[in-house]
């Protein structure tokens, strides 16, 4: 599908853009980390109770913090100042339940990427055909189909998503982890967790963007000479849609899909922050856990947020690169 001209355009933009290189590097690191989480992790992500001798959470390496401990004194139990030192055992510290933050970040990357990629795929699989049919046939078909899309757009995506989860409930799917099954990572979870409802819901909420873009493309393409030629040669609507309209509208759809992965990762983190996800192995959920401990354990909320920002930035940079390379009419914004 990708022509040589497109390949060279992609390469030229990539060579010129520092931002594209940065985006691709971060994205690759996150993909690798998510894939090999069981090997890279130092602890089982669900294992609790990693506290110091006074029962305090460990801070990340390079930080210590003041808290209080209790000791038996002359007048019963006494409150004494206590400094918590980091340990090389837990490089990013431990959370309020005494779970290893570093290991949880690795497994959280899996949740974000799985929901982001599968959610985008489902949204495109539904939205693109919908939009292409509406745009290609036009007229009444287009009108009535786009009214359905209007209704979807009248709900803010986060609001519609939480309402749908309210209906469907929270569910998770367990996917066997080949790395652990093959015995490469002793003592790690044997299943990767996919929050099924969330994945479905983000697709149900975001398909309409694919429908809009695909429709716009189909509207333009249906009047092109080559479509008219194909039809006068007797090609059926189905053939024209599949062989001419779809391939020629792919460019903006690919750019949109990239941006959608980032949008869906943000949406997933919001949903799991609000507790609607069904899995606790998620960056957003971890942020909500830390919110009650900001006075002492600042890192519990801070670190997963940094992970989300890095992931989303890298995907947005890749989206900018694709857009600049595939669509020469749009002036680049990243521009570095």
């Amino acid at each position: 599908m990708i022509s040589d001209r497109l390949k060279s355009s992609l390469k030229r933009e990539f060579d010129q853009s520092l931002m594209a290189k940065l985006g691709l590097s971060i994205a690759l690191v996150i993909i690798l980390v998510a894939t090999f989480a069981p090997i890279l992790a130092t602890h089982h992500p669900g294992q609790t109770g990693h506290f110091d001798e006074e029962g305090s959470s460990y801070p990340p390496i390079g930080f210590d913090y003041q808290t209080h401990a209790w000791e038996d004194g002359d007048d019963g139990r006494e409150r004494i100042p206590h400094t918590v030192q980091p340990t090389s055992e837990h490089v990013l510290g431990t959370n309020n339940l005494g779970q290893d933050v570093y290991s949880r970040m690795l497994f959280g990357a899996r949740t974000s990427l799985l929901v982001g990629l599968i959610g985008t795929g489902l949204a495109a699989a539904f939205g693109v055909p919908f939009g292409l049919v509406a745009g290609y046939f036009g007229g009444r078909t287009d009108d009535s189909m786009m009214r359905v899309a209007d209704i979807m757009l009248a709900f803010p995506s986060l609001v519609l998503a939480i309402a749908l989860i309210g209906v469907f409930g929270r569910s998770v799917q367990y996917i066997p982890d080949p790395i652990v099954m093959a015995g490469f990572a002793e003592g790690m979870p044997e299943y990767a967790v996919l929050p099924g409802t969330v994945t479905l819901v983000v697709a149900l909420v975001n398909w309409v963007w694919f429908a809009r873009v695909a429709r716009g493309e189909a509207l333009a393409i249906r009047n092109e000479e080559y479509v008219k030629a194909a039809r006068s040669l007797g090609a059926s609507n189905w053939t024209v849609l599949r062989k001419h309209v779809l391939p020629n509208s792919l460019t903006p759809i690919i750019v949109l899909a990239t941006i959608q992965v980032a949008a869906i990762i943000l949406l997933e983190s919001s949903l799991s922050y609000l507790g609607f996800s069904g899995t606790t192995l998620s960056w957003g959920y971890e942020i909500s856990q830390g919110q009650d401990y900001l006075r002492t354990a600042w890192w519990i909320s801070t670190i997963p947020g940094v992970a989300i920002v890095l992931a989303v930035i890298s995907i947005n940079l890749l989206g900018d690169w694709l857009r600049d390379a595939l669509d020469p009419n749009i002036e680049g914004e990243g521009g570095v």
Partner: protein, 329 residues
């Protein structure tokens, strides 16, 4: 097509969308799991009393009858009663509107005030450090989840430096201004401002970043056009050219995109309210969802849907008025 005809067409479409929103939210409640009677009375009460409650709430009727009655109620502004508190849903929704509206407006003001000068500076000093700074800021801004940003603002500005309160909204803007006007007492307005700052920054950052991006790219396009060279050749001061002519032409696409992003603003307000325990529609919605209180969920969703449709019609009409070619398309 005349402007009046265009308006009528858009309004009819809007009514259709509102009907769709009402129907979908009703459908969601119909398929939601759980028996609402359990929320109203103790699950251990006798079946007779449960049946009585069911009849009082009209829940024993066939779905179609319930739907028609619900539609009739909406026409007169009646959204039914909360399962949980038995309060009137219309009141429960309306009383939360000012807090959300204040938050959304404050965030929009933050965004416009920061973003437009930033975008202009960025576009007129391309490939200089200030441009790179603005570009980096907008990239990070659109990539940061706003609930996390809110928590980080609390961590640094409230917990570490104690500059702003952590949460809640002790006084509304209208009350604070009323107090100021009637008694000359400033403190309420200051309290309002201190509580509003962090939520408004939290919600406004994404839009600041987005508008900075749009302003920059729009300005870059416009600055390359012949009329700019012409006005420069005429000797007009560059400040005048930038802010009067170029920026005005850049604003049209910005307004369009902002109209499309209204949903993001409302969705962002919902989660921002949750972070700051802000008594708006968002906290009402999420609490109702945790409780399974569907009349309240429906009420908030329908209200948001109507607001969205109305604002879109207003934006479209403004747009059609400014740019009559839209009407013909």
């Amino acid at each position: 097509m005349s402007l009046a005809k265009f308006l009528i067409k858009r309004t009819l479409q809007g009514i259709f969308v509102v009907w769709g929103v009402v129907t979908i939210t009703f459908g969601l409640r119909a398929i939601a799991p759980g028996d609402p009677v359990d929320l109203i009375v103790d699950p251990a009460t006798s079946p007779e009393i449960r049946q009585q409650v069911r009849e009082e709430m009209g829940l024993d009727q066939p779905l179609l009858i319930q739907y028609i009655e619900y539609l009739q109620g909406i026409l007169v502004g009646d959204l039914g009663f909360s399962y949980q508190s038995r309060r009137d849903v219309t009141t429960m929704v309306i009383e939360r509107v000012p807090a959300t509206l204040e938050l959304a407006i404050a965030a929009t003001i933050v965004a416009i005030v920061i973003a437009i000068p930033l975008g202009v500076i960025s576009a007129t000093r391309r490939h200089e450090p200030s441009d790179y700074g603005a570009t980096m800021f907008s990239l990070v801004g659109i990539s940061t989840p706003n609930f996390w940003l809110g928590i980080m603002l609390i961590l640094v500005l409230s917990v570490q430096f104690g500059l702003f309160p952590v949460s809640e909204r002790p006084v509304g803007f209208v009350e604070a201004v009323t107090v100021l006007v009637t008694t000359g007492y400033f403190n309420d307005l200051i309290t309002w401002f201190r509580h509003m700052t962090l939520p408004a920054l939290t919600l406004g950052t994404y839009f600041t970043a987005l508008i900075t991006r749009l302003t920059r790219s729009g300005m870059v396009d416009e600055l390359g056009k012949p009329y700019v060279t012409a006005t420069e050749a005429k000797g007009l001061p560059s400040v005048l050219i930038r802010y009067k002519h170029v920026l005005r032409n850049t604003m049209i696409p910005i307004i369009t995109v902002l109209g499309l992003q209204l949903g993001t603003l409302i969705g962002g307000a919902v989660i921002t309210e949750w972070v700051f325990d802000w008594p708006g529609l968002g906290t009402r919605l999420i609490n109702a969802l945790y409780a399974g209180d569907w009349p309240v969920i429906q009420g908030v969703l329908i209200f948001i849907g109507i607001g969205f449709v109305v604002i879109n019609i207003v934006v479209d009409s403004l747009y059609a008025y400014l740019n009559p070619r839209v009407v013909d398309e």
